[in-house]
Amino acid sequence: MLRLPAFTYEPARSIAQAVGLLAQYGPDALVVSGGTDLYANMKQRLFTPKVLVGLRSISEMRFIAYDDATGLDIGALTTLRTIAEDPVVNARYHSLARAASLISTPQLRNMGTIGGNVCLDTRCNFYNQQEDWRQALGYCLKKDGDVCRVAVSSTKCLAVNSSDLVPVLQSFDATLHLAGPTGERAVKIVEFYRDDGRYARVNGPTEVVTRITIPPPQAQTRSAYRKLRLRGSFDFPLLGVAAVVRLDDDGVCRDARLILNAVAAQPVEVTEAVRYLVGTRLEADALAAAAECAYKCGKPLDNTSASVLYRKRMLRVFARRTLEDLRHGI
């Protein structure tokens, strides 16, 4: 049996109680929601917290609300399945529901939450391994070692952000709401991640993500998400592409966003692509030019399954296909 290290478990019943427990235990404590990422990592001794603060009983963090004026408000404990099946999310933020439905497996989507998903630990072939394996290698920069095994000369950790929801949330300009010992604050998702797999999130260990808000979609907004993986189930993304466009009444693109994930520790926005999309009717050559920008922007490294060359080439293909999805509607 692959066992969890020993810890004590403190269930929190409210956000205030969770924040209080985190302040009390300091660096000895970690929060857990669905546990689908954390427990697997703890079994590999990537984390050995003395105390786990369980969030799952905090009912004030489990909701989805929509208002035409303020947009979507999702409690951090909302499960991936609830998001994938929610009619409002499907209708107004299509790519969010789609991305949630593509995560892992039905069982894991019943367990995993959006709060855990945005706080998913960065992943790497040299990190997500059993302790004996990592020990035999002499560990790595992200955990217990001092050399990055992906690129020995790298001073920062190159593990990737493998969340499927994060690029989509960024394409919708989402805001994360945090509660911590010094009160509450809101952070735009673009500012939430850093380009270093070791310190990939700006929230401290004592700050809990309580909810996620997304502004109301403007009229004629279309969104799409595509995920590259080897199997149609189970797998983390080898590449995620999220795209949003706003069209005017004549079908001319007025605004666009294209975001890549699973190629770096933070999502990569293809800002150049906007220039080739705005003002077009998403004709094939505009999409090809935008896809070319994605190809140049995304720099996958040898740290997930499938070869770097394949993932690099699929950047162009998946960026184009995602944009084609938008041309066809949704």
Binding site: R3, L4, A6, F7, Y39, P106, N110, M111, D132, Q135
Partner: protein, 186 residues
């Protein structure tokens, strides 16, 4: 044979470390839940997964352990009617919940229609994945007694089988659904 490296020594010391970890584990806690329809009270360490408690503390070895990392679905059980992975669920998080394992599928000595259909179709070879498949399928048939092939595949997308292959398993679920639907009509 490979020379012993300092790492091997450290790795074998983990055995002792593991024992140490066990001896210094926080005390057991007592939790109550409903298991296959019965009220159960059980004491276990807080770091035990539901899978460990079912198999080791309650002797219900029908729930299988495969990868224990969320990658195979062999450990699938139903909590509040929904399929979840018992290898990534803490037993204490199930306090007060309704849990169903493969041992609870048969009623009064009669196999569940899914179990019948699996035998009719030859949907199990080694059978290791079968309990997990049965529970994922049971959860589907609870809410949808006329599933399409695509719906069956989607519901079973979190269960791996390394020997039977999936065709017979999908056929078995379709057959069970048909039989259950007919008997509910009658």
């Amino acid at each position: 044979m490979r020379e012993k490296s300092p790492y091997d020594l450290r790795a074998s010391a983990r055995g002792i470390y593991g024992f140490f970890e066990m001896m210094t584990a926080p005390p057991k806690i007592l939790a109550k839940f409903r298991l296959n329809g019965d009220e159960i009270e059980c004491a276990f360490h807080p770091n035990k997964t539901l899978l460990e408690v079912l198999r080791e503390d309650l002797g219900l070895t029908g729930t299988k352990h495969g990868c224990e990392m969320g990658h195979c679905g062999a450990c699938t059980v139903l909590v509040a009617g929904e399929p979840v992975l018992s290898c990534l669920t803490l037993a204490l998080e199930c306090e007060g919940s309704e849990i169903e394992t493969v041992e609870g599928l048969a009623r009064g000595g009669n196999l569940h229609p899914l179990q019948h259909a699996f035998t009719t179709c030859g949907a199990a070879q080694c059978g290791y994945c079968t309990p997990g498949f049965l529970l994922s399928a049971a959860a589907l048939l609870q809410v949808n007694d006329q599933p399409s092939n695509a719906e069956i595949k989607e519901a079973l997308a979190g269960n791996l089988c390394r020997c039977t292959g999936y065709t017979k398993i999908i056929e078995a679920v379709a057959l069970a659904a048909e039989r259950m639907h007919e008997s509910s009509d009658a």
